[in-house]
C-alpha cells in the first residue's frame, strides 16, 4: 500500500500546490526519454562512422570527419541529454514549470535533432547550406531553451543554490554558438577570419569547458550527496569556482584580439581548476559513508579518472587527438551515462508512485528502481564503453585495423545503451498500463 492508513491524506496532498518541492511539477516522463533515446542514437552513428571511415577520422583533429564526430558528441549526444535533463529538472529546482512544456520541448528536440544532422552532414560533405542550416537550427533551439528556462526561473520566487551555477554553464553556450557560426563563415569563405586555430580553441573552450564542464560539474555536485551519501561541497566554493572559470574564459577569448601572455595562459588555469574540482569530487566520493561501489558510481569515477588523464596528457605534450578522446569520450560521455542510469530508474519509480496514489491502486506492489535498468545491464554497458574508449585511444597511437575494431566495440556499446534506455521505457509503460487497468 502506497500510503498505508493515510491513503486519503496522501491523495489529498497530491493535488494541492506543492510550492516547488515536488517532482509532481515535473513534465511527463516521455520528454526526458525522448531526449535520452535520441542521444543514444547519435552515439550509435558515431560508432558506425568509426567502422566505415575510421582511418580518416584520426588523421588529424581538423579532418571533416573528426569535426563531424566532435559535433555528434557535443550537439548530438550532450545537447540532447543536457537539455532533456534540464527540462525535467528545472520545474523541480525553480518550482515553476516551463511554459507550454510539451510544445516547447517538442520544438527544442526536433530543432536539436535536425540541427545536429544538418551540421554534421555539412562538416563531413563540406556542404555550405547544410552547415548553416544546421547552425541556425541549433542557435534557435538553444535560444528557445534559454528563454523558456529564464521565464521558469523568473516567474518562481524560489532561488535555488544550484540555479546560479547551472545558469552560468548554460550562458556559456551563447559565445560557443556565436563563435561557431563565425568560424563556419570563415570555413566556407563567407568571411575572412584571422587566426582560425586560436578562434577554434576559444569556441571549443566555451563549449566543452564552459557549457559542458560547468553544467556537468554543477550537476555532479548536486547529485553525489543524494545518490552516494557524500558530504556536500559548500555552495560558496562551487559558485566561486564556476565564476572564476567563466571569467577566465572571457580573458582567454580576449587573447584573440589583444596579444597578451596572461590572457593566453588563462586556459591553463581553467584546466587546473577543473582538475581541482575533479579531485575534490573524487575525495568526497572516497570519504563517503556508503562504501558500496554501485555501477553508476563506477561510471562517474571512471569519468573523473579520464579527466585527470586528459589533463596530464594535455600538459605533457602535443597529443590533441588523445586529449580530445579522453575529454569527449572519456569524461563527457561516461559521467552523463552514469547519471542517466540513476536518474531514469528514479524518474520511472517516482512517476509510477505518483500515478499509484492518483489511481488509488494501493494494493499494487511497485517494482524498485533496479527493475528499470538492472545492475547487470549497466555493468555490461560499462565494460563495453570503457573498452571502446581505450581501443579508440590505442588506434590513434597505432593506426591500423584496430580502428575498425574500436568502431565495432563503440557501436555495440552505443546499441547496448540504446537498448537499456528503451527497455527502461517499455518497462515503465507496462507498469503504467497495469496501474490504469
Amino acid at each position: 500500500m502506497a500510503c498505508g492508513a493515510s491513503a486519503t491524506r496522501c491523495h489529498r496532498v497530491g493535488i494541492v500546490k506543492t510550492a516547488g518541492l515536488s517532482l509532481d511539477q515535473a513534465p511527463p516522463i516521455d520528454i526526458p526519454f525522448k531526449f535520452f533515446l535520441t542521444a543514444s542514437l547519435f552515439s550509435v552513428i558515431i560508432g558506425l562512422l568509426l567502422i566505415v571511415k575510421g582511418e580518416e577520422v584520426f588523421l588529424s583533429r581538423w579532418t571533416p570527419l573528426a569535426l563531424g564526430i566532435t559535433h555528434l558528441i557535443t550537439i548530438g549526444f550532450l545537447a540532447q541529454v543536457m537539455t532533456g535533463a534540464m527540462i525535467q529538472l528545472l520545474p523541480v529546482l525553480a518550482g515553476s514549470p516551463i511554459p507550454a512544456v510539451i510544445t516547447i520541448s517538442r520544438i527544442i528536440h526536433l530543432s536539436l535533432l535536425s540541427g545536429a544532422i544538418l551540421l554534421v552532414t555539412g562538416f563531413i560533405f563540406s556542404h555550405r547550406f547544410s552547415l548553416f542550416a544546421g547552425a541556425g537550427l541549433l542557435a534557435a533551439a538553444f535560444t528557445l531553451f534559454l528563454i523558456a528556462a529564464l521565464i521558469s526561473l523568473v516567474s518562481s520566487g524560489i532561488r535555488h543554490n544550484n540555479a546560479v551555477s547551472l545558469g552560468l554553464g548554460w550562458l556559456a553556450i551563447v559565445p560557443a554558438v556565436a563563435i561557431g557560426i563565425y568560424l563556419a563563415m570563415g570555413l566556407t569563405g563567407i568571411a575572412s577570419v584571422s587566426d582560425m586555430s586560436r578562434l577554434t580553441a576559444i569556441h571549443l573552450s566555451w563549449g566543452v569547458l564552459g557549457w559542458v564542464g560547468i553544467v556537468l560539474f554543477a550537476t555532479v555536485f548536486q547529485l553525489i550527496p543524494i545518490f552516494y551519501v557524500t558530504k556536500e561541497i559548500p555552495t560558496h566554493i562551487r559558485h566561486i569556482a564556476f565564476a572564476v572559470i567563466f571569467s577566465l574564459l572571457i580573458l582567454y577569448s580576449l587573447s584573440h584580439v589583444i596579444a597578451s601572455r596572461l590572457f593566453e595562459n588563462s586556459l591553463v588555469l581553467i584546466v587546473m581548476l577543473f582538475l581541482l574540482l575533479g579531485i575534490t569530487v573524487l575525495y568526497a566520493i572516497h570519504r563517503r559513508k556508503r562504501k558500496i561501489l554501485d555501477i553508476t558510481l563506477l561510471f562517474v569515477l571512471t569519468g573523473l579518472v579520464f579527466l585527470v588523464l586528459a589533463a596530464i596528457v594535455w600538459v605533457v605534450g602535443d597529443y590533441d587527438l588523445i586529449v580530445g578522446v579522453l575529454l569527449l569520450g572519456g569524461v563527457c560521455l561516461t559521467i552523463p551515462i552514469g547519471i542517466i542510469y540513476k536518474v531514469i530508474p528514479f524518474l520511472c519509480w517516482f512517476h509510477l508512485q505518483s500515478l499509484q496514489v492518483k489511481q488509488e491502486k494501493f494494493s499494487y506492489s511497485l517494482p524498485s528502481m533496479k527493475h528499470f535498468i538492472s545492475d547487470k545491464d549497466a555493468k555490461r554497458h560499462y565494460y563495453l564503453h570503457v573498452g571502446a574508449i581505450f581501443m579508440v585511444i590505442i588506434s590513434i597511437v597505432f593506426p591500423g585495423p584496430i580502428v575498425r575494431l574500436s568502431g565495432i566495440v563503440f557501436s555495440l556499446s552505443s546499441i547496448y545503451f540504446l537498448k537499456n534506455v528503451l527497455f527502461a521505457f517499455l518497462a515503465f509503460r507496462r507498469e503504467q498500463k497495469a496501474l490504469y487497468v
Partner: protein, 145 residues
Amino acid sequence: METIKDSMTQDHRRCDDIFVEMEQAIVQQQWPEADRLCREFIASMEHHFKIEEELLFPELEKAAPQAGGPVNVMTMEHDQMRHLMKQLASSVDKKSKELSTGYSDTLLVTMQQHNIKEESVLYPMADNAVPVLADEIAKAYAEPV
C-alpha cells in the same frame, strides 16, 4: 543552543548511518544482522517522522501558513518512504539480495532528496517561524528510540 535545523539534521545523519550498515549487511547477505538493522532503521525513521508530523509540522503551519505547501510534500514523501520500508522489510524477510538492494537503493534516493529539501528549505523556515520549539525538539531527539 541547538537550532531546529541542527537537531533534525543530526537525526538525518543518524538514520543514514544505520541505513549504510544495513545495506552493507544486505550486500554481504548476513541476514540476521540485516534483519536486526532493518528493524532499527525503520524504528529510527518512524521516530524522526513522528516528531516532525506530530510536533514540528503542525506548529510550523500554525505560525507560517505559507509553509503549508512544503509541509504537505514532506508528509507525502514520508508516506512514500513508509511504503518502501515495508517493501524492504519484506524482501529482507525473504532473504532476497536482489529485491532488498533494489528497494534499499530506491529508498536511499528518495530519502536523500527529501533530506536536502528539509535541511535547505523547511528547517530554516522553522527556525525563523517557531524558534521556541528548538529545545523541545532537541530533547525529543535525545530520547532513545
